[in-house]
Amino acid sequence: MNAGAGLLDLALRDGAAAIAVVGTGKNAGKTVTTRALLEALRGRCVGLTSIGRDGEAVDIGDASPKPRLRLEPGTIVATARAVLPVSPASEILDTSDLMTAAGPLLYARVRTPAPYELLGAPTASGVRASLDRMRALGAEVTLLDGAVDRVAALAGGDEAIVVATGAATAATVEEAVDDVRALVVRLRLPAVDEREPAVRLDGALTATMVAAFAARGETRQIVVGDPTRIALAGRAFDGAMRRLKLRCERPLRVVAVTVASIGTDRYFEPAGFARAVAAATGLPTFDVYAGARAA
C-alpha cells in the first residue's frame, strides 16, 4: 500500500469526512502529503482548502520553489477569489462573505486539470464554515492543508489529523523528532474526565498559569477548550504535562505522521528518520517522498 492510500485508510477508518494536514514548521511536506492523499482519493469528490496559503509556485516568504497542487476535474476548492486561476475556467459554485488574506473566499469545482493555489479562511470558524459548505456542495471527503494553531475548527469533530514533519523544520533528526513528538502529544491531549474535579479555562493555558497551578500543588484536571489553547511548546509543554493533569473539552484525532527527509539545506536518512518519528509518537509514519509507509 502506498503512502496516500495508507494515510487515507487510517483517516477514514472511523468515519471521518475531513482530513487536516498540519506541519511542525515551514516546508514540512504538507503539500506533498496532501498530494499523496489526493492521489489516493482519485475518482471521489474531494473538497480542498487551506488555512493560509498553499500551492503557490514559490514560497511567499523566501522565494524558494514549492510543490504545486495540480487538481483533477471534479475537485472542489475553497480559495480566495483573487487567486483562482483565470484559465482554464473553473465552475464557480458559490461566493461567500468569508474573508481571506487576499479578499473574499469562493467555492469552485475544477473542470480542467490545472495547478491551483489555495488561500483559505484564516479563522477557525471560517475553516469550519468552508469545510461544511464544501460538504454541502457535494464533497465526499474534505482536505485541509494548514497551520497547527488553526485546527481548533476540527476539535470535537470526527475529522482526522495528519502531522507532517521534515528535514526543513529542524537542524537535526533528534530535534525534528522531539518537535513532532511534543506536537503530537499536545494535539492528542486527552478529553476531560467528567467524573473528576476540574478547573476549566476560558482562554489559553500559558507558562505563567502553569507555574501558578504547580506552585499551589493543583491536582484537579486543568481543562482547556481544545489542544490548540495550550500556548506552550517543547520542554515547557513537557514540564506542564508532568506537573499537571492537562485535559481538553474537545479532543483532536491525530491518526498518522508523514516525514519529508529532504530539506532545502539538509537531508535526513529517510528510513532512520521515519523509524525514530514512529517510535517517538507511537503513530503510523509514512514517507511521502518515498511513497510508502515507513514505520
Binding site: V32, R35, P67, R70, R81, L84, V86, S87, P88, A89, S90, E91, I92, L93, D94, T95, L106, R109, R111, T112, P113, S261, I262, Y267, E269, P270, A271, D287, Y289, A290, G291
Partner: protein, 524 residues
C-alpha cells in the same frame, strides 16, 4: 430623517432607539445602502402593506433579498470596460434571479417592482448568462457562449493527452530501469542501494544525500515538443476565454443602467419590507398627523414588551392625550418612566416615517425629542452631581432653537430639596409652554400641576396591597406587584392627592417589617 438631529445620545439611550433601528433594519446589502442614503418612508403605505401581505409573502421577499449578492462592484468594473470574472457573472445571475423572484412575488399582489427598464435588464441578463448555469447554483464559462471556446478546449485537452503520452514514453525507459510501473511528474527518492549504475538515461538528480538521491525524469525531445504544444494550446484557450468574458462583460455594460435601477428598487423594497415586517409583527398603525401634541390609545413601548414577552409576562398598553405640557404622578414602579418612553418611542416612530405600536394615534411630527432626568447616563460618575448634570442638560435643551419639540422629563430635580425642586418644575412648565413644546413631566413632588395650571395625569397604582411572598422571593414579589398594579393613566383634578404606595411597595419587596411599620407611624 437624520437621527442625530432628532435626538441626542442620552435620549436615544432612554428610548432604546437602537432597538427600533434593529427591528426595522433591512436584511440585505441593498436595503442597508438605501437606508444610509435616507429617503422618507411612508407610514401609511407600510401599514397598508402590513395588512395586505401575509407572513409567507414577506418571508419570500426577504429570502430573495438575502440571497441577492452585491453586484455594484461588478457593474462598476463592467462600466469602465473591465472584463468580469466568472464569479461576477455568477453574482449577476443570482441577483437577477432573486430580483425576478421578488418581482413575481409582488405581482401576485398586483404590485410592481422597479421600472420596466430594470425588469428588461434582469430578464435579458438571465437569458444572456443562461448557458453558464451549472448545477443548482453555479456558473461555468460554457462552450455554448461561443463555439470557438469548445474548439479551444478540445485542442488544449488533446495537447495535454499528447503530452501525457509523450512523457509516459519518455519516462518509460527510466521506470523500466528502476523496476517501477510508472514515474509521475513529481520528484521522487531513489535509495543509493537501489540505484543502478550507471543511472539510466533521462533520470536527473536534483539533490544528493549520503543514502539516497532526489530525482526527477527529464523529458526527451518529443515530450518537450509536446509540452510546448500543450503550453501553446493552454495560452490559446486562455485568450479565447478572455475574449468570451470581454464579450459578455460588454453585454453587461449595455444593461448597466437597467441593472442599477433594479438594484435601487431592491434597496427600496428591502427597506420597505423590513418596516412592513415590523408593523405586522407589532400590530402597528399609521398615526394621524396632529398639529400639536401627542395622543394615543393602547400604545406599547416595544423594547419592554419584547423583554416581558421573553420572560413570559404580559404587557399593559396605555392611553394618553397630551396636547401640550402635562404633569404625571404615580407610585413607584407604576410605569411613569415607561409612559414617558412610550411617548418618546411613538414620536420617534412618526419622525422616522414608521407606523406606531398603538391601536390609534394622532401625533405631531416632532423635529426634536429630548429626555431629561433618570437615564443610564445620569448614573455615571464625574465631577458633577446628579442634580448638576441634569441642570446642564436642561440648559442645553433650552438653548436649542425653537423647534417642534417633545420634552420627556423623568423626575427632574429629585435630588435637591423638595421645595426648590418643586419651584424649578413650576418654572420649567412655564418655559416649555412659552416655547409651544409638548412635554410630559413625571414627578413625585406634589402640587406642581395645581401651581402651574398644567394638566395632571396620574397612574392609578396598586389595586390593593399584594401579600408579601414567603422567603422574600423577589421575582415572586415583582410578579405579584405587576398583577396588582393598574398602569392606567387618568386625568385627575388638581386637588387629588398623589397616591403614596411606596411603603406598601417597600414591604412587598421584603424590607424589614418593623421599619416599614415605623415609617407608616411617622407618616401619620
Amino acid at each position: 430623517m437624520n437621527l442625530d438631529l432628532l435626538l441626542d445620545e442620552t435620549t436615544a439611550g432612554a428610548l432604546d432607539a437602537a432597538w427600533l433601528l434593529r427591528a426595522t433594519a433591512p436584511c440585505g446589502e441593498y436595503g442597508r445602502r438605501a437606508a444610509e442614503l435616507g429617503g422618507a418612508p411612508d407610514a401609511r403605505a407600510i401599514a397598508a402593506d402590513a395588512a395586505t401581505f401575509d407572513a409567507a409573502t414577506l418571508d419570500a421577499l426577504q429570502d430573495a433579498l438575502r440571497r441577492a449578492p452585491d453586484v455594484a462592484p461588478a457593474l462598476a468594473r463592467a462600466g469602465v470596460g473591465d472584463a468580469l470574472d466568472d464569479a461576477a457573472f455568477l453574482e449577476l445571475l443570482r441577483f437577477c434571479d432573486a430580483w425576478l423572484r421578488a418581482r413575481a412575488t409582488l405581482a401576485r399582489h398586483d404590485r410592481e417592482l422597479g421600472t420596466e427598464a430594470a425588469a428588461a435588464a434582469c430578464i435579458s441578463l438571465v437569458s444572456l448568462l443562461a448557458h453558464g448555469r451549472a448545477g443548482t447554483y453555479g456558473f461555468y464559462l460554457d462552450e455554448r457562449f461561443d463555439p470557438v471556446l469548445g474548439a479551444a478546449r478540445a485542442r488544449a485537452q488533446r495537447a495535454q493527452a499528447e503530452f501525457d503520452a509523450a512523457r509516459g514514453r519518455s519516462t518509460q525507459g527510466v521506470a523500466r530501469a528502476l523496476g517501477r510501473d510508472e514515474i509521475g511528474e513529481h520528484e521522487f527518492i531513489l535509495m543509493r542501494g537501489d540505484a543502478p549504475s550507471p543511472l539510466p538515461e533521462g533520470l536527473r538528480v536534483i539533490r544528493e544525500a549520503p543514502t539516497y538521491l532526489l530525482c526527477e525524469c527529464e523529458l526527451d525531445e518529443r515530450a518537450l515538443a509536446a509540452l510546448a504544444r500543450r503550453d501553446d494550446a493552454d495560452a490559446a484557450l486562455a485568450q479565447v476565454e478572455r475574449e468570451v468574458r470581454e464579450a459578455l462583460s460588454a453585454r453587461v455594460r449595455e444593461r448597466a443602467a437597467g441593472l442599477d435601477d433594479a438594484a435601487a428598487a431592491f434597496g427600496a423594497l428591502d427597506a420597505h419590507v423590513a418596516k412592513v415586517r415590523f408593523a405586522q409583527t407589532y400590530a402597528c398603525v399609521a398615526a394621524e398627523e396632529a398639529a400639536a401634541g401627542i395622543s394615543f390609545e393602547e400604545a406599547r413601548y416595544l423594547p419592554l414588551l419584547d423583554q416581558l414577552a421573553r420572560e413570559g409576562r404580559a404587557y399593559a398598553p396605555i392611553s394618553l392625550d397630551l396636547p401640550g405640557v402635562a404633569i404625571l404622578t404615580g407610585p413607584n414602579m407604576g410605569g411613569k418612566s415607561i409612559a414617558l418612553r412610550t411617548c418618546g418611542f411613538l414620536a420617534l416612530c412618526v419622525a422616522l416615517g414608521l407606523p406606531v405600536p398603538a391601536k390609534r394615534a394622532r401625533i405631531e411630527r416632532f423635529e426634536r425629542i429630548s429626555w431629561l432626568g433618570i437615564a443610564p447616563e445620569s448614573e455615571s460618575g464625574g465631577l458633577l452631581s446628579s442634580f448638576a448634570r441634569e441642570v446642564v442638560r436642561l440648559r442645553a435643551i433650552l438653548e436649542r432653537p425653537h423647534e417642534r419639540t417633545i420634552v420627556l422629563v423623568d423626575e427632574f430635580a429629585r435630588t435637591t430639596t423638595p421645595q426648590e425642586g418643586r419651584a424649578l418644575l413650576i418654572a420649567l412648565v412655564d418655559r416649555l409652554r412659552e416655547r409651544d413644546a409638548t412635554a410630559l413631566i413625571a414627578t413625585h413632588l406634589a402640587g406642581i400641576a395645581q401651581a402651574s395650571g398644567a394638566t395632571h395625569y396620574a397612574i392609578r397604582g396598586l389595586r390593593g396591597v399584594p401579600a408579601r411572598p414567603a422567603g422574600g422571593d423577589l421575582p415572586a414579589a415583582l410578579a405579584a406587584l405587576a398583577d396588582a398594579m393598574d398602569y392606567t393613566l387618568s386625568e385627575v383634578t388638581a386637588d387629588s392627592p398623589p397616591q403614596a404606595d411606596a411603603l406598601a411597595l417597600a414591604r412587598l419587596l421584603g424590607l424589614d417589617d418593623t421599619l416599614v411599620t415605623a415609617a407608616y407611624a411617622a407618616l401619620g
